[in-house]
Subunit: 331 residues, 2 copies
C-alpha cells in the first residue's frame, strides 16, 4: 500500500480548503441524538484519505474557483461516500473497514442504515445551501446511479454468467459515478466552461474506474499475486461471491479443473489460506491479474488524456499525480 505522500501535491494544494471542509463535516455530523455524530465521526475521522473531496477541490482550483461552493460540495461528496460505506458494510455483512471493526459491528446494522440516511439528507442540505441546481442535479443523479450499481452487483453476486461488460457497468455505477460527480461539481463551483466541465468529469470517471480495478486487484493481493503472505482483507470479494474482473477473465481463460476450483471457491466464506493461495495462482497463471492491471492502465491513460487540452498548472499536475498514485497501489 502506498503512503499519503504519494498524493502530496493534491494534499498541499487543497490543505487550506480541506480544513474548511473538515470543519463543515464535523458541524454537519452533529445531532442531539448522540449516536449520529458517534457513528459519523467513527467513519469520517478514522483515516481514509478523503480523496473524493480533495478531487472536488482540485477540480475547482483547476478552473480558479474563488467562492465557497466547492467547500459545501466537497463536504457533501464525503458524506455521500460515508453513507455508501455504512450501507455497503450492512449489505456485504463486512466485519472490518479500514482495519477497524465496521460501524455495524459496533452499533449494529440498524443504526448503520439510519445514520447513512441521515448523512445523505445532510449532503443534500449542504448542496441546497450552495444554491446551484446543476450541481444538485449532478449529485442526485450520482446518488441514484451508485445505488443502482450496488443493486446490480447484488443481483450478479455468485452469477457465473457475469460478463466483462456487466463488471464494467457495475463499477462505473458504484464507484466511478461518484468520482465523476466529485470532479464535475468542482468545475461547476468554479464556473468552468462546458468543455472544462466535461473534461474533469471524464477524468473523474476514468480515474474512478481505474481506482476500482486497482481495488479489485488488491483484493487478490495485487499484481504480485500469491507471492508472500496475504494481507488480512485479501479474498473478501471472493468470499462475498463478487465476480470482479480478475475472476471474470480467469473463468474464461483457464483449464476445466482450475475453473471448477474457482467456481467452488466463489462465495465460500470459510475458505482456507491454502485454497485462497491456489485461487490467486490460477488468477495469475490465467492472466486474470495482468489483464485487470492492463485495464487499469488503459483507464488511467484515459484519465490523463481527458486533461490534455487544459493548460498545465500545479492543479493539473496534482490531478495527474493521483492517477499515478492509484496505479502504484496495484504493483
Amino acid at each position: 500500500m502506498a503512503n499519503e505522500t504519494d498524493i502530496s501535491a493534491l494534499l498541499a494544494l487543497t490543505a487550506m480548503d480541506m480544513e474548511a471542509v473538515n470543519e463543515m463535516i464535523l458541524a454537519r455530523a452533529a445531532s442531539q441524538v448522540k449516536l449520529v455524530p458517534d457513528i459519523s465521526r467513527y467513519l469520517i475521522e478514522a483515516g481514509g484519505k478523503r480523496l473524493r473531496p480533495m478531487l472536488t477541490l482540485g477540480a475547482a482550483q483547476l478552473f480558479g474557483a474563488s467562492g465557497h461552493h466547492q467547500i459545501n460540495y466537497a463536504a457533501a461528496v464525503e458524506f455521500m461516500h460515508t453513507a455508501t460505506l455504512l450501507h455497503d458494510d450492512v449489505v456485504d455483512e463486512s466485519e472490518k473497514r479500514r482495519g477497524k471493526p465496521a460501524a455495524r459491528m459496533v452499533w449494529g446494522n440498524q443504526a448503520s442504515v439510519l445514520v447513512g440516511d441521515y448523512l445523505l439528507g445532510q449532503a443534500f442540505m449542504m448542496m441546497v445551501e450552495a444554491g446551484d441546481l446543476e450541481a444538485l442535479g449532478v449529485l442526485s443523479q450520482a446518488a441514484a446511479t451508485i445505488a443502482e450499481g450496488e443493486v446490480f452487483q447484488l443481483v450478479r453476486a455468485g452469477d457465473l454468467e457475469t460478463s466483462e461488460a456487466d463488471y464494467f457497468a457495475i463499477i462505473e455505477a458504484k464507484t466511478a459515478a461518484l468520482f465523476a460527480a466529485a470532479t464535475e461539481v468542482g468545475a461547476l463551483a468554479a464556473a468552468a466552461p462546458p468543455s472544462g466541465r466535461a473534461a474533469v468529469r471524464t477524468y473523474g470517471r476514468e480515474l474512478g474506474i481505474a481506482f476500482q480495478l486497482t481495488d479489485d486487484l488488491l483484493d487478490f493481493g495485487g499484481i504480485g499475486g500469491s507471492s508472500g503472505s496475504l494481507g488480512k482483507n485479501v479474498g473478501d470479494d471472493l468470499r462475498d461471491g463478487k465476480l470482479t474482473l480478475p475472476m471474470v477473465y480467469a473463468l474464461g481463460h483457464t483449464a476445466t479443473d482450475n475453473r471448477e476450483f474457482l467456481v467452488k471457491s466463489l462465495g465460500n466464506r470459510e475458505i482456507g489460506e491454502a485454497e485462497l493461495a491456489r485461487v490467486i495462482e490460477i488468477l495469475r497463471s490465467s492472466d486474470g491479474l495482468a489483464y485487470t492491471l492492463a485495464k487499469a492502465r488503459k483507464h488511467s491513460d484515459q484519465a490523463r488524456a481527458a486533461l490534455e487540452d487544459i493548460a498545465d498548472s500545479p492543479s493539473r499536475s496534482a490531478l495527474n499525480e493521483v492517477v499515478d498514485y492509484n496505479l502504484r497501489r496495484a504493483s
Copy 2:
C-alpha cells in the same frame, strides 16, 4: 379501519393530478436492473392510500397551483416515504407490511436497503427537475430529520426512561416532518404567500403527529382496546420494544404489579395472546389509551386551526376531512 371513501373529497379533487403522479412514479421506478422496479412496484402498487402525495396536491390546489411542479413534488414525497418504509422494515426486522410479506422477506435486507437508496436519489432528481431550491431545501431537511428521528427511536427502544417529550420528539421527526414537508412543497408549487406556506406546514405537522398517535393507538387495537379479537399486527411496537405514548403514560400511572408486567412484556417477541390482552387492559385502565386519543384530538384541532385564516374552499374542506378521517381510524 376506515375505508377509502373517508377521504373521498381529497381523492376526487386530486384524481387527475394523481394520474400524472402515478405515471411519473412508474417511470422513475424503472431501471435496467430489474430488481429495482420489482421492489419499488411491490411497495408502491400494493395498496397504501398515497396520502402524502395527495396532501401535496391538495395543498397546491388550496393556493391555485397551475404548473406542473406539484406533480414532481408529490412523486418525490411518495418515493421518500417508500424509501423510509423499505429501510424501516429492515431496521424493525418486520415480516409484514400492509398485510403482505415485507419486501425484505421476499428480496432480502440487502436489496431493501439499496433500492431505498435508489428511490431517495430519484426523489431528489425529480425535485431538481422542478428547479425550486426552496422546495429542495424543505425536502432535504425532511430527509435528514426523518433519519434522525428513526435513530432516536432506535436509541430509546426498550428504555423505560423514555419521556412523553422524547416520544413527541421522535414522532415529530419520523412522521410529522414528512407530512409537513409534503404540504409545504405543495404551497411552494403554487407560489403561496409566506403566511399560507406556514399555515399548511403547520397543518401538515399537526396532522402528522395526530396520524402517528392514531397509528400507535391502533397498534394496541384502538381506543376500544382489548374488547374483541386482536388484529394480526396488534402489539408490533410492544414486541419491537418501542415505547409509544400509551405505554409511556401507563408506566407512570399504574400500580407496581401492572408496571412490572408492562416492563416484562416490552420487547418480548414471543408474547402470547393472553399476555397481550392483559397489557392492553392495563393501558386501558391506566388511561394510557384515552390519554393518547386526547392528544390525537388536540393535534387534530391544531391542524384544523392552522387552516382557519385561509378562505373556505373545496380544497380546504378536503384537507380538513383528512383530519377527521384520521381520528375516526382510532375509534
